[in-house]
């Protein structure tokens, strides 16, 4: 090849060769690309399927978690709501704290109130439980009398068992807070 050729003709032949080499290279690369893609297709389909499966599992897990979390949240909200409700005004105006303050103000220094509990009944009356310890029987008797004398309360009555001891008497009694609406007006 290129034997006894003038420079110009050598360039022509070489440029033709280079052109052909470029075409062959381009075709070879394209073929390699196509073959590569064809070989990758099964793997792609498999991985896509796998991805979709994982995605489904993930979605299911997220849904389950959300549901679980949602349930807990609802329970928490319910508890909070209940707690808030406990602190809400009794009836339309009274706050439980007011009732507690009133009970405490009626107690003498010999009375230690340890626990309160209250429940708003369906007829809008408030049942109020007071648990405590009196230093002496006299202090306890005095405390009950004061409460009985208070028109705000009704039915404050100690069981007889509470009077069996002379000192350090544990007591517990239930009373009703009379017509909260009306009593509030008396304040």
């Amino acid at each position: 090849m290129l034997h006894l050729l003038p420079e110009q003709q050598k360039k022509t032949v070489l440029s033709e060769y280079r052109k052909r080499l470029s075409i062959v290279t381009a075709i070879s690369l394209s073929c390699i690309g196509v073959v590569g893609i064809m070989l990758l297709i099964p793997s792609y389909i498999y991985s896509q399927e796998h991805f979709n499966e994982v995605k489904k599992v993930k979605t299911a897990l997220v849904d389950a978690l959300e549901k679980q979390t949602g349930d807990k949240t609802a329970e928490t909200v319910k508890n909070i709501t209940e707690n808030i409700a406990a602190l809400q005004p009794l009836g339309s105006t009274e706050l439980p704290s007011y009732v507690i303050d009133r009970v405490i103000s009626r107690a003498s220094s010999g009375i230690k109130i340890m626990q309160y509990a209250y429940k708003l009944e369906v007829n809008n009356t408030l049942s109020f439980l007071v648990v405590g310890r009196a230093d002496t029987r006299n202090d306890l008797t005095q405390f009950i009398k004061v409460l009985q004398g208070d028109p705000y309360f009704e039915g404050a009555k100690l069981p007889l068992s509470s009077f069996t001891r002379e000192r350090n008497i544990d007591f517990q009694f239930l009373m009703n807070v009379k017509g909260v609406a009306s009593s509030s007006t008396s304040q």
Binding site: M1, L4, L5, P6, V13, E16, Y17, R20, V24
Partner: protein
């Protein structure tokens, strides 16, 4: 066979990229081409064709303007879809010489050849294209003995214009007898051969030694002269003379006496020229034997269809007292043990140059 050769045997360069060429030989009477292809068993014939010229081309000057040649080439190109071609250049259009240059790289060898070029050929360096072939190296003097082929730029451009106008791209030029010797002498054969290429109107005599054409000489005696002699002697047409020539040939017998005598002058003149070259080479061999070893000629190879004339080979052999054999143009292409060439033997002798041109570089 090396590992790489094994790989290339089973995974050959794509046809599109190898830009495989056909060998095109323009002779005075016809244009012939041969295409070869690689197979796992070696080379095989890919295609061949011949387009006879309407007129005999005697002048190869300004060949691109020869309408007959252009038409024939265009027809061959259209019929056989020829693209890349390696073309033979007639002996008389090119120059060949041998010289000694110091050992060096390609550039320095070329520089040395350029320096001596104008001493050896009658054209200036600027008007010449040349290629060299290293014949051998003299270890004592550290000189290379090279064969240099020189082609005038104008001739190359003339042929390029001719082939380009016919839709073909020349990729290489080779001097006619160099191409022929590539086909008929085994690659790497160090022996010396005298190749007698009997053409239409001339015979080219070449000495091939160490795998290179080292000397050429053209004798203006060709097959046309044989035919003319018969036409004159028997007063017959050219076709009839051709028929007589190949049927009876150059054998001396009682019933062939007149034919023998009609041809003897021409054949004898040719024999004298062959003998002259033979003697010259033997003398040259003696002269340079102190500097390098050259094998003496012990084989004459006859090429060209007319070299098969009955008795011609024997006549040359008896005169020179050396082995004379007919060329096997398929020697470097295929073995007759494995394959039968699709071209008849007589015809194939006309394809020798085209086959040499079509051979891949490795086998040249």
């Amino acid at each position: 066979m090396s590992f790489l050769e094994n790989i290339f045997k089973h995974f050959p360069t794509p046809e599109f990229l190898s830009m495989s060429h056909v060998g095109v030989d323009i002779s005075p009477t016809a244009i012939r081409f041969i295409g070869l292809k690689r197979t796992t068993h070696g080379l095989a014939l890919a295609g061949f064709g011949e387009q006879l010229l309407l007129t005999v081309t005697k002048d190869f000057d300004n060949i691109h303007a020869n309408a007959d040649v252009v038409a024939a080439l265009k027809k061959l190109q259209r019929t056989h879809k020829l693209s890349f071609v390696e073309v033979s250049i007639p002996e008389e259009k090119a120059y060949l010489f041998t010289t000694d240059v110091p050992v060096g790289d390609d550039a320095s060898i070329r520089n040395n050849i350029e320096f001596h070029l104008e001493e050896n050929v009658p054209i200036s360096l600027s008007d010449a294209l040349f290629e060299y072939y290293i014949i051998n190296k003299n270890e004592k003097t550290n000189m290379l003995h090279v064969a240099v082929s020189v082609l005038p730029v104008a001739v190359a451009e003339d042929y390029i214009e001719l082939f380009t106008s016919c839709g073909m791209t020349p990729v290489s030029f080779l001097i006619e007898n160099q191409a022929l010797s590539k086909a008929i002498i085994k690659k790497g054969d160090p022996n010396s051969y005298l190749v007698v290429n009997l053409g239409f109107e001339k015979t080219v005599l070449s000495v091939v030694s160490d795998d290179a054409v080292q000397f050429t000489s053209t004798v203006h005696i060709g097959s046309e002269d044989f035919t003319q002699a018969i036409m004159k002697e028997f007063n017959v047409s050219e076709q009839e003379a051709e028929k007589i020539k190949f049927e009876k040939g150059f054998s001396r017998s009682k019933d062939n006496e007149s034919l023998f005598l009609s041809l003897i002058n021409t054949v004898s003149a040719l024999k004298d020229e062959i003998n002259r070259i033979y003697v010259y080479w033997q003398a040259y061999q003696e002269k340079v034997k102190a500097q390098r070893t050259i094998n003496s000629i012990n084989h004459v190879i006859l090429a060209g269809k007319d070299s098969t004339l009955i008795g011609f080979r024997d006549y040359i052999a008896m005169s020179l007292k050396v082995d004379v054999e007919l060329a096997n143009v398929w020697l470097n292409v295929m073995s007759f043990d494995n394959e039968i060439p699709p071209i008849e033997y007589l015809e194939s002798l006309n394809y020798g140059t085209a086959i040499g041109l079509a051979l891949p570089k490795k086998l040249k």
